[in-house]
Amino acid sequence: MNEFIQNLIPVVIAVVGSMVWLGINALVLVYCERKFAGHIQRRPGPFEVGPHGVLQTLIDGLKLMGKQLLTPDNADGFLYWLAPILSMIPVLLLFMPIPYGPVLTGMQVNLGLLLILAFSSFNGLAVILAGWASNNKWGVLGAARAVAQTVAYEIPLLLTVLAIAFMTGTLDLTEITAQQAGHIGNWFIWKQPLAFIIFLIAMFGETNRAPFDLAEAESELTAGFHTEYSSMGFGLFFMAEYGYMVVICSVCSVLFLGGFHGPIPGIEGWWWMLAKTYALLFLMIWARWTFPRVRFDQLLNINWKWLLPLATFNLLATALIMKL
């Protein structure tokens, strides 16, 4: 029993840590996104609360919590409230196997990559349930789009991840990081440039981010699947969206950018991981405020006609080269 508790302690620490990490990231990222959007449009963004508006998201969060929890008439109440929770809880688990530093790993899981892919599929499900349960035509339309989108974009993502797994012979994220140790030339982005690009594009589709945010497309579906959600129901979806962004950017930097290894040998640590993850996150934000939303048939065409064949080709080429 004693030994069991000793085993349990790091897990509990990791769970609490990832909760805190998720909360901080959501706050920081929302602020960064609004500031970034503002500066791209040459306006200051949030400015009033705190110096340069740094406390704005905190206040917004408090405001959200203070609002009334509404359930629409004739909505399926149980599913309606299940959906935001279902989208939130897996995020906490997703942070566990990601190695943020040489010691800063929640849990070294043999099948870490598979764990992340398996549990991130809950997000799509939550979106679908939310849209369906809110008894709102925009919600149902958003759900219908989310169904097609999540199924479609998971495939190229899996195939690119598989290409990396081919090269490393492991699904353990710590091991994959270790194989990229040394200098910048060992990063997998150089060996798998096509996979990196496909992953980058599929990333937007998986996290429902603009220009692929068809499930919530505010100009056509008001807010899509979360039209009816108020207060923390909406807040949880919001947090989960940023949580998935952080997770997928972390995975991308582990898979392709060497994780916590620096560009030159000798210096490694969590700050590299943080810098890479945030660079990717900023790329996502930047893309959101640059590109217009694609049409739905375009979205599916990009996936089925471009990403999927390219990812398959990449996988075959990787297998061939590994064998030779």
């Binding site: 500066h39 449009q41 040459r42 306006r43 200051p44 893309a287 405020w289 640059t290 471009w306």
Partner: protein, 195 residues
């Protein structure tokens, strides 16, 4: 060959355009802000001239209190929302002595010059609550007597205040001009102290 260009080369070029888009927004990100943070800063006068506020009258160059308006009612007929109300001035009733004098002159066979009504309007009332700021009145004014005002700090606290007597306003502006008091400068300075 054509198919190759259409289905392979063109998409690659299109991908390049994505990078161009990123470059443009990135460039804008680095440029200094152009929005002005109101209570701490105000827009300089040069940029104020492009602001289109409510409609106002233009004074004659010689007499700024007197509008160029000739009461032709073009603005009233053209206004789509019917927010302008212009009242022409009436001819002053001639005194009996004058009438007498005219009659005598007519009898003598001379030409009589009866005084005409002054052209400038007696009343020029503008209802800002109805105005859609379309500018049709300004375009149609033959005397070029209307323009958009450019006081961005103008506020009203009641519907009544939104019904502006433009003649009175012009008079007020004329007196302000003769005794220049840069109001807009003083306000932000006070606000800055508060902040």
């Amino acid at each position: 060959m054509n198919a190759l260009r259409k289905h392979v080369i063109q998409p690659i070029i299109d991908c390049w355009s994505l990078l161009v888009g990123l470059k443009i927004t990135g460039k804008y990100f680095c440029k200094p802000l152009i929005t002005v943070h109101y209570p701490r800063q105000v827009i300089d006068d040069e940029n104020l001239t492009t602001y289109g506020g409510h409609v106002e009258l233009i004074g004659k160059p010689k007499d700024p209190a007197m509008p160029k308006c000739i009461s032709c009612m073009m603005c009233v007929t053209n206004c789509p929302s019917g927010c302008l109300k212009v009242v022409k001035q009436k001819v002053e009733k001639p005194t009996p002595e004058q009438e007498q004098a005219w009659k005598e002159a007519e009898e003598r066979g001379e030409k009589v010059v009866k005084p005409k009504a002054p052209k400038n309007p007696a009343k020029f009332v503008y209802d800002y609550t109805l105005c859609s700021l379309c500018g049709t009145c300004i375009d149609n004014c033959p005397a070029k007597s209307l323009k958009f005002s450019n006081n961005i700090y103008w506020v009203a606290t009641s519907r009544k205040e939104m019904k502006i007597d433009l003649l009175a306003r012009l008079k007020g502006q004329a007196t302000d001009l003769s005794a220049p008091a840069p109001k807009t400068e003083a306000k932000p300075a006070a606000a800055e102290k508060e902040a």
